[in-house]
Point group: C2
Chain length 324, copies 2
Amino acid sequence: MIKIAIIGFGTVGQGVAEVLMEKRDYLRQIIGDYKVVAVADSKGSLIGDFDLLNAIKIKRERGLPEGMDAMEIVENQDFDLLIETTITNIETGEPGLSYIKKALKRGKNVITSNKGPLVVAYSELIELAKENNCKLLFEATVGGAMPVIKLVNNCLAGNKILSIKGILNGTCNYILSRMEKEKMPFEQILAEAQELKIAEADPSYDVDGIDAASKLVIVANALLGIDAKFEDVEITGIREITPEAFDVAMEKGYTIRLIAEAGSNGLKVSPRLIPLQHPLALQGTLNALLIKTDLAGDVVVVGKGAGKRETASAIVSDLIQLYG
Amino acid sequence: MIKIAIIGFGTVGQGVAEVLMEKRDYLRQIIGDYKVVAVADSKGSLIGDFDLLNAIKIKRERGLPEGMDAMEIVENQDFDLLIETTITNIETGEPGLSYIKKALKRGKNVITSNKGPLVVAYSELIELAKENNCKLLFEATVGGAMPVIKLVNNCLAGNKILSIKGILNGTCNYILSRMEKEKMPFEQILAEAQELKIAEADPSYDVDGIDAASKLVIVANALLGIDAKFEDVEITGIREITPEAFDVAMEKGYTIRLIAEAGSNGLKVSPRLIPLQHPLALQGTLNALLIKTDLAGDVVVVGKGAGKRETASAIVSDLIQLYG
């Protein structure tokens, strides 16, 4: 029986809980029996014997009840796997960083969807997992449902990864692909994206390239073996792109996309010209990654970079990697 | 020490041998020590202690020397893994089918790049592997270096695969994407492709959709759990596509591609209209697959569908899955 603690019970945490219930019969065949023995967020928790469906209902209606706090659960409760889905803070990594460290120190496996801890302390966390003979998996931190980490480590095993280049922020891609079609200014399309909840009220995390840069740091560490930090990324956002820039680009058969790239020339996030029929000339909120390898040549993957069930999909694939 | 027998020593077999030599130090760290103890083709073989680099030289200069024949090697020699890369025959599956069956019956692991045996006898071979407690891996049979089997089984683990749709023949994609650009008739572009060695002298295996249909049968069996045979595929090739058809399509923002699709509506290979900026509207000889899932939504992968090192890449990823 795999005992699971879910810390962070917002959209992602609830999405995972839902999939763990929906797919119970199927997943049991692959990983054996499992049980969620704790859920917690910043305000409250449930531990021990509780109904998971009911936990989601309680959370939505009135919030989780006050109880053991998240850190206490991670420190003292009996569980095998921490699924850490708290909110991302790429400056401190907290609160996820402390939860993950504590769990790893206890020899517990961890699956996280939280970029912060990995951006702040990638090598330290991987080292900690090794020392304590447990695993830290994080497929959900980059590209949502789009396979990235496992794609390289499993599917392209044996290849040397020369560079990685892609679209790692769906909001920017939405804005740029709309600007391409509508020839309207950035501010106007941003307002539209905000109305559609594709962009946040404070859009800077997305449109200034911070989110894409965070994911790039994780990818550079995990797949290229570069000990990169956030400060190593040269970042240009998309605020300065004009409809006229699209006119000029498209006359020559190009469009403009926010591209994150890591390789021997360092780490860079910036708007780039992409041929109109290139696999990275994507529409909408999709994410994509082009992986340059020594044997397989270029491999491109495209998928949904965000969403509740999509992120849950990545977490479940990690769960199966751990226990399948 | 993993003892490897390579049966089939053409482009693919030699490519694998080259990569096994080139990446020896790296691969040893992952799978431990290994040695190629036999290579054979339809005309000759080398067994025991021989230099692999020299074997390639001999093969190229004067052919492998007469010796133990391939079937005798598979039946009687001491090896752990058969890498089967003989020529594809989708009607009989031979000679690969007999080699694979024999090796599995002896409890030996098998990696194959040969579509024939799987198209003819997928379930029988998988069953045989299970019964004899060994594995049959075949990433190289579909899409060359483009990950397909592992992409679904590992990266998208936990997802239900609803349907699969893609470009599984690079020759057809080359011809159609050139017709799109040049507005020239099929026959003319085919002649050009033949000159460039992208199409064979007898092009029917590619342009009549037979190759794509074979791969679709493997994918349907392996990833959708459909017990499909070649006869179950409804096939239309690309010979009838005219430049005028492209004109009509492109006026409405579409292009034409040969699409292989498997799902609840059965198996079909046919030319289809694809929006110009769709991830499947690829140029050149690339392959692509769009995988529709219940959690991850649509995931698209694009890669090189053929080539010596590309196919070796897929075989090496299988090798690492087996012994890594």
